[in-house]
């Protein structure tokens, strides 16, 4: 999987992906494509009940199935029997209690995947089925029995800023809901575990953070971290859904138990049960303003359904609170954000991470306030826009460029698309019945922001090793090694571009990501270009320093004395936890985007055609402009999905639509053209001024679309995804 990049291009150019050729030829090795001699297939038995007690598990019939090599339960987990990103509360394999439908109970290894699945069905579990706790409001009731010993309240973040009881002349209130969205990455969870001669295990895995997987694996397998080696398998998308462990421990347990390589690969249905989702949210907002449109106070209550296990819920809750009022200067704020345990599917990280939910609510409120004030909604936002030096509700100043007003002006001033071109563009597409009657156009705006990198005192550093040597043909040649997960975003390209720019070396190889080098942190929080980019930059600078010590001569000559290598960590500015009043310098830096949506709605049938999305976004520095555009367009598609179609439907704790037939993601017919404006206002603290790109497109695109739908229909539309019934007013 070593990749050689043959182009000259460095930072700021649309360099082609080094993994592009194998990807278009079908030769790129995704984790699900791996194969080993004597390989067995793993399968998982999952709980059909959202809440139950396990009286007993009988594995004899499964184990007797021809072709089966192992059937394991919680009794076979040698080390810590639970795992989790922040709180290790999730059983590797359930014992006594199951707390959501789909919880893993037992695992099987067999010589054919169908044999493994059939054997898993032969495991007999004696269940005592219990009533699930599925209402997050009820979970807060102290009279309700807790799912976990710590109680059902997983975290409560209270922010108090200025005079929280301040009143304005004009007041608007609203209640909003966000449904449970799925990351729906196309490459299913997959990995290949290979037992090693030292009694340890090598795992080839699609993940977002190799080292945090390794540490959790070592704890549950009861092995020293050095004996658990991870190599990144090809990753078919992530979007937050690969932050938590899925089949990692299971595959390693089966491999260590059988002494043979074991592959596990989920199908789409199992994938819906195998990873966490975006938190559903219920939000109540109260906005106070002066008559001339200055925000006086915002009070918000946010309730997130964390589901059965903690995952990254506590950080999502903190983010929902931090960004609850949006990118506005608000002198008086009170926010109460809570996340609770229920027997619903566990929720955790997804692109936008807490800011998506509250952005839907605060932007709906800004529109509502604009109506109450009889003011243009863009003008109202502009008048209250956050800027550099503004004080956030958390008491911290905004240090980075914060072009909120400018982004709004830019999307407002972009040309509007023309009228409908032909019948195929009408709501309902070629199958629609309208020929234009009942079709109303709407325009809506939204702006949002979020933190880049991990917050609240977490030092999510990245490590890079850079080595420069002479190739056999006498030309200088650089190798970059990090553990950073390429999940599709183009990080391998970016690392090579930075190395080329800093070293002046054309030939750069990005080595496979593995745990043989220090942690790179997670491919999350829009952080990798800044953090691993920063680490590569710093390591390259160190290499150049070492070369200069050899004298002043061309690189080819200096390298005749042997290769030069440097390993460096890149740490961002220190951050601090929030105190009891939600005050603290908790975030490294921020990224901002604004969106304008144009929609055509068939108001009689409730069908929608999104005509165009226009966006302006500040990225700090576009290392690879084409990849930046790809991130923005792809992020908007996920925001469109949440606005119009994407929701995991959970009834009484049971998932009703665990398939791509029933959980719909946008197709090429759903996505409109995107009009893009990318700003490069450099961050003062990062190399090249780098900031994040990936998440802002997903944050404010959803509320912009819903705003446009409201403009077209006059309906309140307080919940996403918006359904045809809501649009038709049924």
């Amino acid at each position: 999987m070593t990749t050689v990049v043959g182009t000259r291009s460095g930072v700021g150019e649309s360099v082609r992906r080094p993994d592009g050729i194998p990807k278009v030829k079908g030769e790129f090795a995704y984790a699900s494509d791996l194969w080993a001699d004597r390989m067995l297939w793993g399968s998982t038995l999952r709980s059909p009940h959202p809440r139950a007690k396990i009286r007993s598990i009988e594995i004899a019939a499964a184990l007797a199935t021809p072709g089966v090599h192992a059937v394991l339960t919680h009794e076979d987990v040698p080390g810590r029997k639970t795992y989790g990103l922040e709180i290790p509360d999730q059983p590797v394999l359930a014992w006594e209690d199951v707390r959501y439908q789909g919880e893993a109970v037992a695992i099987v290894a067999a010589d054919h995947p169908e044999t493994a699945r059939a054997a898993a069905r032969r495991i007999e579990v004696d269940w005592e089925v219990l009533e699930p706790l599925t209402d997050p409001e009820r979970a807060l009731d102290p009279a309700v029995a807790p799912l976990h010993p710590s109680g059902n309240l997983l975290r409560h973040v209270h922010i108090e800023h200025g005079d929280p009881a301040a009143e304005g002349e004009v007041v608007v209130t609203g209640e909003y809901e966000v449904g449970m969205q799925d990351q729906a990455f196309l490459g299913p969870e997959s990995g290949l575990a290979v037992p090693s001669e030292d009694g340890g295990v090598d795992l080839y895995i699609a993940t977002q953070w190799l080292h945090v997987d390794r540490d959790q694996l070592a704890a549950s397998l009861d092995l020293e971290p050095e004996r658990v080696r991870l190599v990144l398998g090809g990753v078919g998308g992530a979007f937050g859904g690969r932050e938590d462990l899925s089949m990692q421990v299971h595959a390693c347990l089966l491999a260590l138990h059988t002494g043979r390589p074991v592959k596990m690969m989920y199908g789409r249905e199992e994938s819906f049960f195998g990873h966490i989702h975006r938190h559903p949210a219920r939000m109540r907002y109260e906005h106070h303003a002066t008559r001339d449109g200055r925000l006086v106070a915002v009070r918000a209550r946010v309730l997130l359904d964390g589901g059965a296990y903690a995952s990254s819920s506590t950080a999502v809750c903190s983010n929902a609170a931090s960004f609850a009022v949006g990118p506005y200067d608000v002198p008086n704020v009170r926010v109460d954000a809570s996340v609770v345990y229920t027997d619903n599917p566990p929720c955790g990280a997804m692109r936008g991470f807490g800011a998506v939910q509250t952005c839907f609510a605060h932007e709906a409120q800004m529109d509502k306030l604009a109506v109450a004030l009889e003011m243009d909604p863009v003008e109202l936002r502009r008048r209250n826009a956050l800027s550099t030096g503004s004080i956030l509700p958390t008491g911290a100043p905004v240090r980075c460029p914060a072009p909120v007003a400018e982004l709004l002006e830019r999307v407002r001033d972009m040309p509007l698309p023309g009228p409908r071109a032909d019948g195929g563009d009408l709501p309902g597409g070629v199958a629609g019945v309208t020929r234009g009657e009942g079709v109303v156009r709407g325009v809506g705006y939204a702006v949002g922001f979020k933190n880049i990198g991990y917050s609240e005192g977490f030092d999510d550093y990245s490590t890079a090793r850079v080595r420069v040597s002479l190739a056999a043909d006498g030309e200088p040649f650089a190798e970059v090694h990090s553990a950073a997960a390429e999940v599709g975003q183009g990080l391998v390209t970016v690392q090579a571009q930075i190395a080329r720019s800093e070293l002046g070396v054309e030939r750069v190889v990005v080595l496979p990501a593995d745990t043989q080098v220090g942690s790179a942190g997670s491919s999350s929080a829009s952080r990798q270009t800044m953090m691993t980019g920063g680490a590569v930059y710093t390591a390259c600078r160190a290499v150049m320093e070492l070369l200069r010590e050899r004298g002043d001569a061309p690189l080819e000559e200096l390298l005749r004395d042997g290769p030069v290598e440097a390993t460096r960590e890149y740490h961002h500015r220190e951050t601090f936890p929030l105190d009891a009043n939600g005050q603290g310098d908790a975030h490294v830096t921020f990224a901002f985007a604004a969106h304008r949506a144009i929609v055509d709605v068939d108001v009689e049938l409730g069908l929608v055609k999104v005509v165009e999305i226009a966006t302006a976004q500040d990225v700090g520095k576009a290392v690879n402009p084409q990849a930046v555009e790809g991130q923005i367009e792809g992020g908007i598609a996920q925001g469109l999905g949440l606005a119009l179609m994407e929701e995991i439907v959970v009834v009484d704790g049971q998932v009703r639509n665990a398939s791509f037939t029933d959980y719909l993601i946008p197709t090429v017919l759903d996505m409109p053209p995107v009009r893009l404006d990318v700003l490069e206002l450099g961050d003062p603290d990062a190399p090249y001024g780098l900031r994040g790109v990936g998440e802002p497109p997903t944050i404010s695109s959803t509320p912009a679309i819903v705003s446009a739908l409201r403009a077209a229909t006059g309906q309140a539309l307080t919940r996403v995804p918006v359904r045809p019934d809501d649009l038709a007013g049924l």
Binding site: G20, G488, G630, E633, G634, A637, Q638, F660, V668, L669
Partner: protein, 153 residues
């Protein structure tokens, strides 16, 4: 059972195929051709698109036995080892590849579209690719790639 068919122009024989296996499984796990992808395995995402006797099809929906005696072309068969088909080249150049899991299916579907309609309009491109899900790109760069490939044909 034994399966005999032509794959990418070569006659192939596979023994020990279980009757419940899909053509996709046989390609990926028995013939060492993992280019066809397994994203949904129920015909919704198009990642496993292949030609079966010259017709575009989801290989996950075809039982291995249904391919008996027939001709299958996969993404691996569109260009020789060291070459790129113009559609593959256009996907690279336009930035239409991110995670790449949808890419082989989209390449095959685009190949089929341009074979049928050498200069497709945007609505024709969208209609032809509506059965291929992509979660990364938002489809803009994929449309660019198809237009680019068509312009060069």
């Amino acid at each position: 059972m034994r399966l005999t068919c032509t794959i990418n122009g070569e006659p192939r024989e596979v023994d020990g195929v279980w009757e419940g296996e899909s053509l996709l499984y046989v390609l990926r796990e028995r013939l060492g051709l993992p280019g066809s992808k397994n994203a949904c395995e129920q015909g919704e995402c198009g990642s496993c698109s292949v030609y079966l006797d010259g017709e575009l099809a989801c290989s996950c929906l075809i039982l291995a036995g249904q391919a008996e005696g027939r001709e299958v072309v996969t993404v691996e068969g569109l260009a020789s080892e060291d070459e790129l088909h113009p559609v593959q080249e256009a996907f690279l150049e336009a930035g239409a590849v991110q995670c790449g899991f949808c890419t082989p299916g989209l390449i095959v579907a685009t190949h089929d579209l341009l074979r049928r309609i050498p200069e497709p309009s945007d609505p024709e491109i969208r209609e032809a690719l509506a059965g291929n899900l992509c979660r990364c790109t938002g489809y803009e760069k994929i449309l660019d790639a198809v237009r680019l490939a068509a312009s060069r044909a």
